[in-house]
């Protein structure tokens, strides 16, 4: 294969657009994949996972704190790959420190890595918070992390004095990667921070705690908007809405720290709040429950407020917990969403959609597409939970009489079985999920609506919102416009 280059290359250069890369088939002909091995439950191997490891969730959480740096007690890949993922998603700087874990640490233990590492980090960066995140290797060799951190603090006190050393919060998050997924990593981070920092003074603050889970800056801003409209000041643990969506203002001093993020004082004050909402139950419940036990702050679980009913449940729960009224502005937002649903129903009703991603996102999206009259023909989460199937089945039960096909639910599935299933679905209209579904959608000839973690192949999704009445309305626009663009000729769209 060789390109015939033009006689003169223009200043526009010669790129993919100019090339024709002829695809070479990897086999003589199509052969269906072994049907016995398609269901994930029938095999040992996982093909195309829709989840990654716990440390990513914990590091994500720490990135949402003010002047905070995650410190990863593991090999350099454990930090670099996560930073790489964040760079792709947020297109923002993301500083993560490595313990630089090598063979010697694996043999003799990682004490020196923690003690020297925290010292080296502090004397250059002077962070307010360090989240120490463990990995497979340190968990397998059985590092006594609590003692290592104590030793590190002692060393810091000797070098920089008690006051400055004690001013830096160091919080341990145990995240062995062979357990759970990124969702559980975030969940454990919430538990660790609440457990080690939040206090009850006995003086109620009137605030509401929000543990958002792995939703994007746009979603967090929408949740804050709703609460502020209700006259409530939220404490968001962990608030990535500024730290991972920072403006370009060249810094005047170094090192670069993005503005924003939850402060230690705010986390401390969570013990005096009225209630804690875990927007994504599976990524926040552990923290919320601990806070309830420790400080008596009422825990109110999700569901993630996507669509009408889930957002109704959220605002009602907030109103009940705080005694505040649901304001006119929020009711009008709801009215606008319902109005748009009425306007768009002929494009959504009886449409077939497949939904995949993290459990709470999928539960929220599934209910919303049902509210739109669509049939969720396949619903998949890569992070299996005990309650996922019950939650999804409850939604399906409610809407079953308008379905055009029996839905299939995959709890703890992989994208390989999901795609093989979708190939057999006739007249699929839409797939909703993250960027790992791009190939599936292209091959099925169906558009992909991007939602959930991770989205890295488009700009701006981290700033959009899919939660609350307003976020749901924006998502509905994207759904309906995609359907119109993909499934309808222009002549049918003229009126």
């Amino acid at each position: 294969m060789s390109d015939i280059l033009p006689e003169r290359i223009s200043i526009e250069g010669y790129t993919h657009k100019d090339m024709t890369v002829e695809k070479v088939p990897a086999s003589c002909e199509f052969r269906p994949r072994d049907p016995h091995l398609v269901p994930a439950a029938n095999r040992s191997v996982v093909v195309n996972p829709s989840r990654t490891c716990m440390p990513l969730g914990a590091i994500w959480a720490v990135m949402g704190l003010n002047r905070a740096i995650p410190f990863v007690q593991g090999a350099q890949g454990c930090t670099t790959y996560v930073r790489y993922t964040f760079a792709r998603i947020f297109r923002e700087p993301g500083s993560v420190a490595t313990a630089s874990f090598h063979e010697d640490a694996a043999v003799f233990g990682g004490r020196r890595n923690v003690v020297d590492g925290l010292r080296n980090l502090v004397v250059r960066y002077w962070p307010s918070v360090i989240g120490v995140v463990t990995t497979c290797s340190s968990e397998i060799i059985g590092d006594d992390m609590e003692n290592f951190i104590k030793a590190a603090k002692k060393k810091l006190r000797e070098e920089i004095g008690d006051e400055r050393a004690d001013g830096i919060e160091i919080v341990l998050i145990n995240t062995p990667s062979f357990v759970g997924s990124q969702v559980e990593g975030y969940n454990r981070a919430a538990q660790s921070f609440v457990g080690s920092i939040s206090r009850k003074t006995g003086k109620p603050s009137g605030k509401v705690n929000i543990i958002p889970g792995m939703i994007y800056p746009g979603d967090i801003r929408e949740i804050k908007y709703i609460l502020r409209e209700m006259g409530i000041e939220p404490t968001v643990l962990f608030d990535i809405s500024d730290t991972l969506d920072a403006p370009l203002h060249p810094p005047k001093s170094l090192p670069y720290y993005p503005a924003g993020g939850t402060t230690i004082e705010e986390i401390r004050g969570m013990g005096d709040a009225t209630a804690t909402f875990a927007i994504q139950t599976s990524a926040g419940e552990a923290g919320a429950r601990l806070l309830e036990k420790k400080c008596g702050v009422q825990y109110l679980p999700g569901p993630m407020p996507v669509g009408v009913a889930h957002t109704d449940a959220f605002v009602t729960a907030v109103a009940q917990a705080t005694g505040r009224e649901i304001p006119r502005s929020v009711i009008d937002d709801r009215g606008r969403l319902v109005d748009t649903m009425a306007d768009t129903l002929h494009y959504t009703m009886m449409g077939k959609v497949a939904v995949f991603g993290d459990p709470d996102t999928v539960i929220g999206l599934t209910r919303f597409v049902c509210e739109l009259g669509m049939t969720p023909v396949a619903v998949m989460t890569g992070t299996g939970t005990k309650t996922f199937e019950d939650n999804i089945n409850a939604i399906l039960e409610e809407y079953r009489d308008i379905f055009v096909e029996e839905p299939k639910v995959f709890n703890n599935g992989d994208l390989f079985e999901f795609e093989e299933y979708l190939r057999g679905v006739k007249k699929l209209n839409l797939i909703i999920g993250h960027s790992k579904g791009v190939d599936i959608a292209a091959e099925c000839g169906v558009p992909l609506i991007r939602a959930g973690f991770p989205i890295y192949d488009r700009f701006g999704y981290q700033k959009k919102s899919i939660v609350g009445y307003r976020g749901s309305e924006l998502l509905l626009y994207e759904i309906v416009n995609t359907i119109m663009g993909h499934h309808y000729p222009a002549a049918q769209l003229e009126q």
Binding site: A26, S44, P49, M54, A87, G94, S100, R423
Partner: protein
């Protein structure tokens, strides 16, 4: 003394051994290829990343079996832009949307009980299942990671058994993330282990080697070229027009059957001399096949590469003909970019070899390299850097993020060539960047590719956005926007 240190390192004097201002009269080699300080904000990856991501990933028709918990596989799935033309079928008459090496991610997904009781059984089952699921794959490569390295699973025994029972060659790349200093260790591990394994495989199954009658006097391998953004589409035709036959590329867009034939050629051409010279060395020692070093970035270096390759085969005239033709093809565009870029100051932060690959091309565009940094360079990389630069450049080995920030503040380059993870930090400081690992809109290699490179640099520097970075030009206190949070 050319060694120096930065203000941010005042409590870390040892970093001073890694930082120098290059003086051509008095060149120094900094401390390098040593372990990152704990607590560092490093760009370095792990040995597994080097083996799986960089070297194994571009091979197009293998099952890349990552024997690990899910994360290690997920992070190496479709991330690097090592492109390929080999596509699996997904339906009758329909090929997949992504090439085979980027379409599937295969992992044993080690769980707690596997860590406790060992993962050998799970690995074996996973190999058998994958071979059944993906009959288009011609081989399996098993990668170990921290988890499976630490628990000590005997993956070689699994490889032997699976190969025996299925007849499919099974390779192992044992390069756990926590071994070695950086991803460079993974390159090395993969080179050594792969070489030994193809050597043993050729002894076991001589029919896999190239038969005598198929050989030609012009057979070469291109080593250390990973086909980032189709660089091979720029490099390969140049060598083929010269009259050489490229039997195999280690490893960009390459089939395993061709890689097994690496020892059957007359000469090797080594592009990335950091990640793959090891295997060229071993092929030289084991099979008496010489290699030349080449760079295909920039006009001067690409021309030099063609001349060097031609000289071995008596094809000098042909080389000059190609160089003249290709130079004429890009002359006008190159002139345009020279006019626009001349006098600009550039900083480069890359893995290792690209710093010295790119000093000359930047000079060809009239730009000056005022700062360079490497993630995983070794002594010989710094020798090459020093040889190619006239002096005055600040060089940092395995920088901490803060060091980069400080260098930018002090030196204020017009452009920063760096990877995905650092580029957003540098942009926040108001400096344009070009992605130097996977490119913005490549390919960047060869003659025509160099125009793409120059274009992306021009786009970065001349984008109107940078003039807006200082905020609203309103008088007095009107535009201060209050205190930062």
């Amino acid at each position: 003394m050319p060694l120096t240190n930065l203000k941010c390192n005042k409590c870390l004097p040892e970093r001073g051994d890694h930082i120098y201002i290059h003086d051509a009269q008095n060149p120094v080699i900094p401390a390098c290829n040593i372990k990152t300080l704990p607590g560092d904000m490093t760009e370095r990856g792990c040995a597994f990343a080097g083996a799986r991501g960089v070297i194994g990933g571009p091979i197009v028709d293998t099952i890349d079996m990552v024997h690990a918990p899910v994360g290690c596989a997920w992070y190496t799935w479709g991330t690097r832009r090592h492109l390929s033309d080999l596509y699996p079928y997904v339906a009758p008459g329909q090929l997949a949307n992504s090439s085979f090496n980027r379409r599937f991610c295969v992992v044993t997904d080690m769980k707690e009980e596997n860590v406790v009781f060992g993962g050998v059984k799970k690995l074996k089952e996973s190999c058998f299942e994958s071979i059944r699921l993906f009959p288009e794959a011609k081989a399996v490569i098993i990668y170990t990671t921290c988890t499976t390295g630490l628990i000590g699973d005997d993956v070689q025994a699994v490889a032997r058994q699976v190969e025996k029972e299925t007849g499919i060659p099974v390779f192992t790349a044992e390069s756990p993330g926590c071994s070695g200093v950086s991803q460079s260790k993974g390159h090395h591990d993969f080179n050594i282990q792969f070489y030994r394994q193809i050597r043993a495989l050729r002894e076991r199954r001589p029919e896999l080697a190239m038969q005598e009658e198929e050989k030609t006097p012009y057979d070469v391998c291109l080593i250390g070229e990973y086909n980032m953004d189709w660089d091979l589409r720029m490099i390969r035709p140049l060598l083929e027009r010269l009259g050489l036959r490229i039997v195999s590329v280690f490893t960009g867009n390459e089939r395993i059957e061709n890689l097994i034939k690496m020892p059957d050629v007359k000469m090797n051409i080594v592009h990335c001399q950091r990640s793959a010279e090891y295997i060229a060395d071993m092929v030289k020692d084991g099979y008496d096949i010489p290699f030349i070093r080449a760079s295909f970035f920039g006009i001067e270096q690409t021309s030099m590469a063609l001349r060097k390759a031609a000289a071995r085969f008596g094809l000098e005239e042909k080389a000059e003909e190609i160089i003249a033709e290709e130079t004429a093809r890009i002359e006008d565009a190159l002139d345009f970019y020279r006019r626009k870029l001349s006098g600009k100051k550039v900083a480069i932060y890359v893995g290792g070899p690209r710093l010295w690959h790119w000093i000359k091309p930047m000079e060809e565009l009239g730009m000056e390299v005022i700062m360079g940094a490497c993630t995983f360079a070794h002594d010989d990389d710094y020798e090459k850097i020093n040889e190619r630069h006239k002096g005055g450049m600040l060089v940092i080995d395995a920088p901490n993020e803060f060091e980069i920030e400080e260098a930018i503040m002090d030196l204020k380059p017009d452009l920063f060539l760096t990877g995905l993870k650092e580029k957003y930090l540098i942009r926040k400081m108001g400096i344009p960047t070009v992605n130097s690992h996977s490119y913005e809109k490549g390919p960047y290699a060869g003659f025509a590719g160099f125009i793409n490179f120059a274009r992306d640099i021009y786009q970065g520097i001349y984008a109107p956005v940078w003039k807006f970075q200082d905020g609203i030009a309103a008088p007095g206190r009107l535009a201060q926007g209050g205190e930062e949070k």
